[in-house]
Symmetry: C2
């Protein structure tokens, strides 16, 4: 072991009075511009008397959290300059957007990216007007804000984003403000434990600053209202060494406040430097480092600090009333206008900006320069750093499929061998995240190459279980943490995969909403470079939750995702092992998407050889001629379509029954891998034209579609192409429990026998032979159920079944199955 | 103040050896039956040699957590008997189903509810066979399990369910097992803070037992791998007094283990009794009680305790390998069969059951009797206790609407006055839950009657903010906590309302999935009585997130909910104040549903008087004749339909433009309150027949439908009735940011001008006048946007607009709007 990094280890000199004075000026400037952004649409430096028409007609934004954010920013800047830290700033209370926009403007980054918002009077006017203004910028720390990887609109993810961003970035630090509102959320409450998953030798540092400004929208915050010793125990219990700071509640000299906080921040950073020194020493000595009690800071300041103390006789500074816009009638009442004027002038703008409207040089000099500015940290525009993965040729991992269905395999288990080698070739830029389900989802081959990273206590036998101090697999029983870490990792220019049970990925519905929004907006921002896609591998899916039953049966995440913008979302349902390999290779190469891949882990038939799989996946859907009975060149009587591994098995079983029992019926079998192909081409870039759709699904013939999830989604996707309502869909209709796999299919009328009945019902020209077959199918269902209920096992099996060898497993079973057992 | 309850205050006598011996026998019996359920389908008391055919062919279930659950259950029983506690048992690790089924069977409750599972040999055979067996019972602590209010399949909600269940139940206790896997989740991590919201005088007690068995599916658990002092600090930081117990890791005499744990449990219960004594004393003295440091227990035992120590040479007891079924090949290999036989016999079943297969009386006597059995606590079948709310007549709260649109009102603000009186009349059975948004959603009239309940520190000015030691409003910035508390409250027979921002209700997508599943299953269980519906009031919705922008704009929760079973889900979009009142009255009377109500909080036009509102809501949708231009008795040329408050405003504005500009066009206006009415009657109980649908929407005429959310949902719901594709839907297409309300509509092509353009595009017979109007509409959009971008405000306004008075606000605006401002 050795380290390729050095941690800046400058001595911590306490700031002198002159520096404190300039820092204070910088903070005043940031606060001034924050207030200016919320209120002003003209007269940005108050060089003329403030008049109503200078005030925006609609006052929108959040003042309360902002001065605390700018205070920290000013101090972070000093520390960066003094120590040469590579830092990013993660703003948990993202609605403090004006503060961050102000800070990045004062640093110059904003004007570099948006030249129209120049560092002069005209630029200041634009800066103020554009904020929360139609055609302008959002009120949050949005993708438009330089240096941001965290919008902070939905609260709770700052810490997991920060920890994800710092993985494999050992010489960097994320100064992470945790709002005390956000701190009440579940995801944030567990994210403190992220420090049990970080390695001081190989990962960067997260310095959490819990900002207790005491109030949310209309209530005090919990952590501000427990005794400080209790809060200290909580933080130590989370594995941190807390440092406490309180300021702003009395008439203390501002310079003294700055001096005291600089000392606290230095103490934290000195202790981090000591931890890093130890880590480097450990590395040189060839030993792993033990988990340190990382510092964190509790920063207690008034909400709306430096704002109006009272408005209309009601306490405002230090109260929830400063949460949004304290002087809501500034444009309409002379009193509020005068208050606003006084408030703005309290920052003494004339001392801060020169005659052209530029920040005075001695004040600007308190910020770092170039890439050390937190707003210019390249990792916060991760696409800039992104390198394509070195991917092993997935074709080498494909399984031989001499004929369709001749071979059984566990798709995710085979995928694991490829992922193992993806990890081997990309030892610092690819990680797998999961809630204790990587092995359960049968990706365990990855452990031939790597471990699960774990900084908590190790016991000797843990080595056998692939638990180590460093590793490319991150497992914690919190989907929120997995998602947050992965997002942070991707947003800073790396690659990853989230492997989860299908049902419980709903836990992060709202998080992926926000990530999809981020991607959507960044697509519209030129300077934001594309990042790697967020890849979900969902296994242990609805049809195979044998151990757990109903609570674990839910395929609705796909439905949730298709509401996102078409340019963001891709959904894949590879039916077997080789198609899964091809699909995942595609996903790991892609950019700016959310890819949802649903795949089985149980042994199941393999249908396509690797080359056929590539062709099929490239098309996204296709006709499986070998499975049907149609005459080439003419439309079939009927199409059996399927999407998903289990529905594919059932569809092929139904096709086989039909081939044997009704050989004159021209059946076409269509398999869909890429669900978005079902949409109209105008709706989705992967969509089909009507001509192509009809080319696949026939013109005006009935389609019996066996789908993995809720049937309605197929109707929704194919809506434009299915005006006649000819598509009949079977899928999961929310009928579940602990039972056998085939019984699960029967409960939802999605089994092979029912599919054959559906076909017969839709092709009226079939004669009495079909009527007899229909009756036999109904009988076969009764027998299959009776067998399961008596013997506790499936008849027929859905995974042991093969297309080639068990020639009579399906149709034969319909006649003979368990007749003596009922 | 006084208390209406007494807390049982029996002295805690340490158990004598004989009692310990009988408790140990009861525990062995529970473990024996747990193993029996997982493995056996016959020979339940091993009265003949164990043969392969006695073992189930598919072994499904979870052993690892089970012995810890039964251990606690046995000890809880002793404490209940000795103290006369009214207790319920909440099983965080719900997959420990066999343990709870075994315990309730041993108590007799199971056989009372399911007589076929009798307390004899035949009953034992059924008990074993049915578990995780097709046609039998699920593997989890499902609704089928007596005494359960918590399925525990999706981890993380045990504590919030427990705290919700104990609200307003001051003489009861919820013994709540928190699994150490579950403890890693976000929702659980924040749920520990529930103790800052509970009142010792008016609420019951939650005793959390953190069960550290050390392993999840394939990994150690976090909290088992931090030093015990750190864990103690964490628990104290959460506001608890932790008591630690470790047992089962060595050869300690089982009776000694029981004696030691009984002492720990007694210490916890004595300390609870002392807290309750103090609370009663405080109540007598007329003062509120301060938050105590409630006890909690850390119970460290081996995973798979008492199971096989090793299997195939691999450590099993005390390892993740005991998580599910340790002897997976018991039916197939003689070695595993022999191991299973030895394991079962290690519990010495012959000492536990009499010759008929009944639990021996002296052992059975260690459990409490009647309603004191945790499995027979009536609150765990909440519908049994449910009383209808005393609802004030909502008509008295309606606003006068002399003519449609003549009056502006804030719907949720008016609703607040009714809710205030609902609270007044139901002081112990109704609560409002929300993530700091009750006032933001403008329900603040409730504070005239009640406070927000808060057990953390109070400051003098908090009184003005309606923060108190007792109150009917529960606010914490965690949607997970709100949902969990409310579910616990409802499941134990009370009523409630969850008020939230629309976008962030997605945070509980997965939780409401589980609740909907619970309702669906209980509908099929005769002895489970119907409970009050789970009511969501979603405001601050997608169209009015002026302060926050894109991250706060998401109407997809409705889409999420419609995948649930039709008998469970109701979605309402009341367009104004009086319809909101009528809708909420209906929701608070309903049972076994999840009701989703989306309503505005901003001032907006009122369309219907209270009597018309009742009629309209009763129908669920209807024709607004006054808004259209059709000739009675004949089909219109076109239908303008709408659902949602803002789309209704835009639709009526469009109707007004059409009336004035194209008076010959016969337009019908349809408003939809109950979204489920759009479905086919075969799909949903509220659905319409095709005849009724056509009666409302005309036959074969175009429909331009302005919808609140993602447009696809309307297509999906109306799919069966819209074979011709005549419905054209406008809604939210994921285009959002911080901007004006009207610009939001324009970005999504859902504004009045665009609706008029849509109409013109769909009625080809319109002549040149329409072409001119279409051009004017397009121009109006450009002008409206230019005005917003220049002035920062809306033109036209969507909320200030009224139907009657501003006769030219819309069409006039199209001509004259801001022409000089562009």
């Amino acid at each position: 072991m050795s380290t390729t990094w050095t941690w800046p280890d400058a001595p911590a000199a306490a700031p002198q009075e002159d520096e404190l004075r300039r820092m204070h000026a910088w903070w005043r400037a940031a606060n001034y511009l924050s207030v200016g952004q919320i209120y002003l649409m003209d007269n940005p430096l108050l060089r003329e008397p403030l008049r109503p028409e200078h005030v925006k007609p609609r006052l929108l934004g959040h003042w309360g959290t902002t001065p605390g954010l700018t205070f920290l920013y000013a101090h972070a800047n000093r520390a960066i300059r003094q120590r040469g830290l590579k830092a990013m700033y993660i703003t948990g209370p993202g609605h403090g957007g004006p503060g961050l926009v102000a800070a990045t403007y004062l640093e110059g980054t904003y004007s570099e990216i948006y030249p129209a918002v120049s560092r002069d009077l005209e630029g200041l006017r634009r800066l103020c007007t554009q904020f929360s203004f139609p055609g302008g910028i959002p009120s949050h720390v949005a993708p438009e804000t330089p240096g941001s990887i965290h919008e902070g609109g939905e609260l709770g993810y700052s810490l997991s984003h920060a920890y994800g961003a710092m993985l494999d970035r050992p010489d960097e630090i994320a100064l992470t403000v945790v709002g005390d509102g956000e701190a009440e959320t579940g995801p944030l409450a567990t994210a403190w434990h992220s420090n049990k998953f970080t390695n001081p030798q190989t990962d960067g540092v997260v310095l959490p600053i819990l900002h207790l400004n005491g109030y949310k929208i209309a209530n005090p915050t919990l952590l501000a209202r427990i005794p400080e010793p209790e809060l200290a125990e909580l933080m130590r219990g989370y594995g941190h060494t807390p440092l406490f700071f309180t300021g702003g509640f009395d008439d203390e000299d501002p310079l003294e406040i700055h001096r005291r906080f600089a000392a606290v921040l230095d103490e934290a950073l000195d202790s981090i430097a000591a931890i890093k020194r130890q880590a480097a020493e450990d590395a040189r000595a060839g030993r792993e480092s033990e988990r340190p009690a990382w510092p964190m800071i509790v920063l207690r300041t008034p909400k709306g600090w430096t704002g109006p103390e009272e408005i209309d006789g009601k306490r405002t500074e230090g109260s929830w009333r400063s949460h949004q816009v304290p002087l809501a009638s500034a444009r309409d009442t002379p009193e509020h206008l005068a208050d606003l004027d006084a408030w703005l002038r309290s920052y003494r703008p004339e001392e801060l900006f020169d005659e052209h409207g530029a920040l005075r040089e001695e004040i600007a000099g308190t910020a770092p320069e170039g890439r050390l500015r937190m707003s210019a940290n390249p990792a916060t525009n991760g696409g800039e750093l992104l390198q394509a993965l070195r991917l092993p040729d997935f074709r080498d991992y494909g399984i031989d499929v001499p004929s369709p269905g001749a071979v059984q395999a566990e798709p995710t288990r085979v995928l694991g061998t490829w992922l193992r080698d993806v990890i081997a070739r990309n030892p610092e830029t690819f990680r797998i995240f999961g809630p204790d389900e990587t092995a359960s989802n049968r990706l365990q081959a990855v452990y031939e190459e790597t471990d699960k990273q774990w900084a908590a206590q190790l016991e000797p036998h843990d080595r056998e279980e692939h638990l180590g101090r460093r590793g490319r697999v991150m497992e914690v029983l919190s989907e929120h943490q997995c998602q947050g870490w992965l997002e942070g990792y991707l947003l800073t220019g790396r690659h990853g995969l989230f492997s989860s049970y299908e049902a419980f990925i709903h836990i992060v519905d709202s998080m992926v909403n926000q990530h999809a929004k981020w991607l959507k907006v960044t697509n519209e921002i030129g300077w934001r470079r594309p990042i790697a896609s967020l890849n979900y591998l969902l296994s242990s899916h609805v049809w195979r939750q044998d151990h757990n039953g109903f609570s674990h049966q839910d395929p609705g995440f796909i439905d949730h995702m298709v509401n996102k913008k078409a340019e963001i979302v891709r959904v894949y349902l590879p039916p077997d092992t080789n198609t899964l390999l091809s699909t995942m290779d595609h996903c790991l190469r892609s950019r700016q998407y959310v890819n949802v891949v649903v795949a089985g882990k149980q042994p199941g038939p393999s249908w396509l050889g690797i080359d056929e799989a590539i062709t099929h996946c490239t098309r996204g859907l296709g006709i499986w001629e070998w499975a049907g009975t149609e005459t080439p060149g003419s439309d079939p009587d009927l199409v059996l379509a399927c999407a998903g591994d289990i529905p594919t098995v059932e569809t092929l079983a139904a096709a086989k029954i039909l081939r044997e029992e009704l050989p004159d019926l021209a059946v076409r079998v269509v398999n869909v891998v890429d669900l978005m192909r079902l949409q109209e081409d105008a709706e989705h870039p992967h969509g089909l034209s009507l001509r192509d759709f009809d080319g696949i699904f026939g013109t005006d013939v009935p389609v019996v579609f066996a789908y993995h999830g809720y049937p309605w989604l197929i109707h929704r996707l194919a809506y434009r192409h299915d005006r006649g309502g000819r598509i009949h869909v079977r899928g999961y209709t929310e009928e579940g429990t602990t039972t056998t796999p085939f019984d699960m299919l029967m409960r939802n009328d999605a089994d092979r026998f029912h599919l054959v009945m559906d076909v017969i019902d839709r092709v009226p020209q079939l004669g009495s032979r079909a009527a007899g077959l229909r009756q036999r199918m109904a009988d076969a269902r009764i027998r299959a159920r009776a067998h399961a209920y008596t013997h506790g096992e499936d008849l027929p099996e859905i995974s042991g079944w093969t297309w080639d060898e068990n020639a009579d497993a399906a149709a034969g079973g319909a006649d003979e199955t368990g007749g003596d057992n009922v």
